[in-house]
Symmetry: C4
Subunit: 501 residues, 4 copies
């Protein structure tokens, strides 16, 4: 009975009976293990011991209180144990990476000096922990080892990451700008599924914001309210859908990004909660049924270990084989998702459980855009999951271009959005010319809130607004309906990488 | 009453009553504030104080005397105040950037060793103040932050600047050179709107030449006279249109680049002055109704501050938000321009107020070239404002190529010129083969006069003449009418950036 | 008579009478010289002396005992000679390259940290001797000297190696991925010539595995058995076809890569042996009738000499001209191969001597794929010998793409495989979409067994399996027959080389 | 009267009376000035003084004796003057560049280690004087200043040199190699204008070989004889056409590259001499009627001065303008050539004065190839003068490709050759597949003889022979008539520059 001694706790150190100490209280999480969105393995690593620190990285303080039934709250540890644990947490020497992050935060430039999303990403790359950066920035079949190889081999190996291809693809689209058109009053606002947005940009689902900033997704929610845009909230957010909705302005529009559970009952329950909370649309995610191969994310623990010890790991033929988490961070998140969805089954099921608009997130080719239109959904988000899933997936702006040329009728049947690779107002304007109703930004908001909190997230919208308006005026458009396919031309030359300064 | 004490002057430090001291004389510029081509903000920064130094950077000594009514000349400051101000100006320690510039001027190579426009640009990049270089060289959505990002990120982001694309576009056009044609006497001369030019090159409008050299645009005017080419004078020149015309040779041809004021009466007044002064054509600027996003120019004050202090600015959450001039230098210049021009309104209006030939400067696609022909103007200048406005605007040589293939009839109805990205005589000859009557050079003259004054500007023409004649002879042309579209072929390969030595 | 003095042995130092000492036993190899697969020259270099060391690099200890008739085993050297030779071998100072290799092996990362074939190649490039690396990695018209030139010349010279083009070609193929398809159970297995394979990958013939690891090809054979894939054994393996078959699991499938001798009788004998040993198919090699020009391999002896002495060789006009082995390592291997094969002659001959399935290895264009189908063979391996033979040979994935578009009927008449340039699961999936039945990996297995022995070779298959399954699921395929040509699109842009970190 | 004092000689220091001392003998070259192939200016720089050193760089010792009438040989200088001049020549301190060259020669690798033309060029770049390297390697609109600019500017400027484009163009042609063809006996020989050649390669005209090696063009002549190929001798060779023919083997075939004098009588005289000497064909040069803009060559004197003094030249506003030789070395050579040649005039004139076969050297587009066929000449050499004349001239292999596709009939009417950008046997085989009868190498022979004399020149042929035979065997050809257009495919991807090791 509470208060517990650490000895008593330490006996419950397996999947059969798993207790953990968090902020000096003991919890029995044995039955919760299979439910944990981040997977059982990470909890079991701390079974019978203190899990406060790793818990705080991802979760808000009261998350566990909310999702665990009262009887599993076993009460506090003994006072001297509490004191010892707290002291240990305080006394723990900062890791080299933590020290680096602290120093970087002191050096970051004034927010007013951030003139572009790329500049914001640069700051984020400085101030993020290696773990957060690895998760946020990683993409499919990461190129790190290829880089290293190239440096020593006489042969160059070309293994592009889908992430950078998404961005580069925009550089193949040039404007046929029109002059002598009245653009003195230029209005960049639009609607998405009937909900108004101050600019044709929304927050695309992006997970685990607390890895970058303690307030997490709420930074983005508040900035979206202030700047008048719509946020799509991920099932895998580090805050619960309840907490995020609670932080929202009453008039604010939020959409929900659904990762469908393979168990229809659990999926149904989640949809009902979403509807009940007041989310205005369901974005069903279909491009992440399994985790992509994100090497930088997988490699992260080793890199940190080597950084800390100063010694690289070396091969020992006789050592037991290390168990590597090849699914990476994302693997844990999608473990129980439905891998057997079908147009003719899943869309009708979702229609049958909610009247909210349905958008399919993750369409990657013309054929599936047509299939979506035939399935009668309200919108599609052309996306390859930010290049984090299938390498060599066609860049979304290229899919949009093909759709505009091959099946312009699809745009009459549903709304089309894209995300992936957008860095500039010109990118947004190109997408709108080619028929997109709006574009999503994911990483940009994660990076900005990591670096500057809510003000950073708001800055993303402000930068985009100014660049979008300037680009609209300079192509001769005074509102979004003035943007036409003929204003954009896909050129046959390549934009080359710049030399470094 | 004059002479004034500095205390008295210092009380007039707001938009309500704004006095400034320039070369020890006091001026009341309150009513002039909204008229200032460079914007009110820059004046207000010096309201109630001494503005001599910043005034001298842009204006000739008697500029203010001319444009301010006599009653606003309030007379001198008191003798000891005058002495003190003069001493302060002299005693002011040179900034690190000023010292750098002085040293660079001592090291620059003999003018005879400058063999190409690129070499001239290299010298200019050395000897220009950071402020001048930032303004002259900046282009839309500058790539500086992208560069920095690339250096640290595993992902390359491709954000080409329109400026470099303009130049690179020429590298996709190769010659089908003809041999066995008599070219012993090769004449590169032509006419522009009926006025003769020794080579098919003119000075395209480029602003603020005094940033680079105290004599400013007059360096270019005199070089143009000597070398027999035509200068198009910008509304935003640092010298007045009167001063420039006064410096011209009586037989010299000058054109005027008009930025139309949104107030038709003011625009009319300016046109009438231009006509009265003897300018021979109006180039109506339509590609700069709002300022492009020129990051390097915006960033310039911070860069200088950091250079001087040796300390980068850092984020302070509690500091008041800094007011950033996001319009940059150009923003001030175009603030009051007409953003609601229309083919069917603006061209007839201009026709109604002058009989001078009208050229539309800033056409960026075939459709607008056709619109211009239908509007009955005398010429079009295919230009994206040197890549300083809309990023991913189609490079002018590409627009020319499309016009030649899709609507060759337009060349029969008006004269077509291009500017942007021209570095070599071969570039000029390619443009002429594709139907251009002449090409404009802007930055090249700014750079050259900054580095070597009038002799530098003349050198630009001499280099071009020699390269043009050589290229004409080697493609088999003895005069400009021998240059034909079939002599140029757009190839499907890319010219790659060279490695650095 | 044995035991022999070293003096006696040393008299037999020519092609007329050639004795060598190996592990202190004397052999008369005079009659064996023309039979030596590695050529007579290398043996003659050691004629009359001790050849133990170079012998051990390539051959297993009992190789000579097996292939030399008993009467040529002349018996041991005298005891004191044996002692002296052994001492000399032990006392021999390690070369700088040997020391480097030893150190590199101590530093190599844990096998569990190897996440890609590129990372494996990186380790191999560290731990391989220069000789092995030069032979394994070299490709046609190696670019080494071109690199050097580029570094000093104002002119860049572009001489791509076929090897890197093979890999880069894959980067022009992007996916049109399908979503909403049930892929929860994804099975990557297939059959090759009717024999089952756990993934659509086989070991393509690659020679001289002992250069990288003392166990040589057996590492690969055992890994193939364990992982359930098929190995194609090269005529030029460093182990005999008998030894490799002996090491195989009884249920394991092995194919044989035949280099046909120009003497039909010898070729017949080899085929009969192959059939007798239980190999299941003949891959007739037609892309290596002469050796390609592999400069890095040719240069290897000089590089090692310079490394050892610390002094580069310099030109001496009066020195006798050095005899350079321009054929390199491969030259010796193909010296006696048939250079006059013909479709109408060679295929019927092979059919007449065996009932095994026949695959032509080395088809490089559509026309020859059609010729093969007409000749009635069972399969073709589209291959340019890993880019080691003809520079600018069309990359195999491009040949496959052309075949799919121009002559899809060929896929109905025989099985099509490709090898060359494959690094990722996505590469394999692209090839299968375009009609390939399976793909071969050659160097990947050589590199992996060199670095980590049998475990390394198995790791190659494990990495491929995971990447293939992930890619299949993300394109919407639950087994290999779901992969269709329309899932792959050849794009018109280039994937650029990455910058180095 | 001789012997002359130096004072007497020094009075004849102008174009009116110009004496020079060479090897201590006095010559009156006043009347010879306008005849000097290298121009009068270079002689006048030494008028009245000792010109021995500069004379020796270009000319063989007895050149002047031969071309100057006896009465202009004024006899020796006085003995003490002779002694003093000789001592001065000996005592003259070596320049830094001369010292560098001497050291480089000591370090060059054995000729047997040279495995490619690129490696040979690398050695030449080390051992050549800066003057020779600048002349040999320079190309039109050299990119040197562009390089420098790129290093400092945020904007990249793309100014490719025609020279490197010539080479890079080959990388767009890939093979459709055929297998299963009997190539055991592969014969690379061919005929050119009916004269046999051991390989389909000839020496293309290249001037001033003595800049690189004292024996000059004779190195090449002797190597050509030994290796059985044909040499085309330039009008601008540093040895006379008489000397070169005298060094030739009696059975050796030499062609003559004619730069036609604008004075038809002088041109006629030269042709008659050529015919009389036994040259077998006239290659009329039409791609160099004026000198291209070769910046590196122009810049050479300044670079050497700066190297010697250690101080860069700087701008002095008051200094007299330096007279720059903008024609460079080539300018002097083509000064008196005919710039008004015409198909309908020049070809008939040449036919009227000789029965030798006529080849037009310098055709750069399909239209002129057709014009040549209509003019009835015997051959055309597709050439842009090694990229030294018009920048962005279409690369010769691209012209050949267009000719093969657009006007295959032309190949039936005359022989077609190409030069420019050839580095490999595969390049030669590609050209032959596309219809060329043979290819010319120019710089390759200059570089090789500079580095290794006659043996170097022979090595070029040996390298080419081996690479050509290997490539022919690997594409499935046993003689040159087996090479067909369908064996080569122009691909739509770019070959990228390699990273530096």
């Amino acid at each position: 009975m509470a208060p517990w001694s650490l000895n008593e706790v330490s006996e419950h150190n397996s999947a059969q009976s798993c207790w953990v100490v968090i902020h000096n209280n003991v919890y029995d999480v044995t039955e919760f293990l299979p439910e944990h969105p981040g997977g059982a393995a990470i909890i079991l690593r701390y079974a019978g011991g203190d899990a406060t620190e790793v818990y705080d990285q991802i979760h808000v303080p009261d998350a566990l209180d909310k999702c665990l039934p009262g009887e599993k709250h076993l009460g506090p540890v003994q006072p001297d144990a509490a004191r010892r644990l707290t002291e240990e947490r305080i006394a723990r020497k900062k890791t080299k990476d933590e020290v680096r992050v602290e120093e970087a935060h002191k050096r970051k430039p004034p927010l007013s000096h951030i003139l572009s999303l790329a500049a914001m990403e640069k700051v984020a790359s400085d101030v993020l922990s290696h773990k957060a950066w690895s998760y946020y920035s990683s993409s499919s079949d990461d190129t790190i080892s290829a880089f290293l190889l190239v440096a020593i081999s006489p042969v160059e190996i070309y293994i592009p990451a889908a992430y950078s291809e998404n961005a580069r693809a925009f550089s193949r689209f040039f404007f046929n700008a029109r002059v002598m058109r009245p653009v003195g009053d230029c209005d960049p606002s639009t609607t998405i599924l009937g909900y108004s947005s101050s600019i044709p940009v929304f927050v695309s689902g992006a997970a685990l914001a607390r890895l970058g900033h303690p307030k997490g997704e709420i930074n983005i929610t508040r900035a979206a309210a202030k700047e008048g845009i719509i946020q799509m909230v991920s099932s895998n957010a580090s805050l619960s859908k309840e907490d995020i909705m609670a932080a929202a302005d009453p008039t604010q529009t939020l959409f929900f990004q659904l990762y469908k559970n393979r168990d229809d009952d659990k999926a149904l329950k989640r949809v009902q909660e979403v509807v009940g909370l007041g989310y205005k649309a369901i974005f069903l995610t279909v491009d992440a049924i399994v985790a992509g191969n994100r090497e930088e994310d997988i490699r992260c623990p080793w890199v940190l270990e080597e950084l800390e010890s100063g010694k690289p790991a070396v091969w020992d033929e006789n050592a037991p084989v290390e168990d590597v988490n090849l699914g990476g961070t994302a693997g844990n998140l999608v473990n129980r998702d439905d891998r057997n969805m079908k147009w003719e089954k899943t869309v009708p099921w979702l229609r049958s459980v909610t009247t909210l608009p349905i958008v399919i997130k993750g369409v990657q080719c013309v054929a599936d855009a047509v299939a979506a239109a035939e399935a009668g959904v309200d919108g599609i988000l052309l996306s390859n999951h930010g290049g984090r899933q299938l390498d060599y997936s066609m860049p979304p702006i290229e899919v949009l271009y093909r759709l505009q040329r091959q099946r312009p009728d699809v745009f009459l049947k549903l709304e089309v959005y894209i995300d992936g690779g957008i860095y500039r107002g010109t990118d947004v304007v190109k997408a709108l010319c080619l028929g997109a109703k709006a574009v999503g930004l994911g990483r940009a908001f994660l990076y900005a809130q990591s670096a500057y909190g809510e003000a950073g997230a708001a800055k993303v919208v402000q930068l985009m607004r100014r660049e979008i308006v300037t680009a609209m005026q300079l192509v001769g458009a005074s509102n979004v309906t003035d943007l036409k396919p003929e204003m954009v031309e896909r050129v046959d030359w390549e934009c080359l990488p710049k030399s470094k300064l």
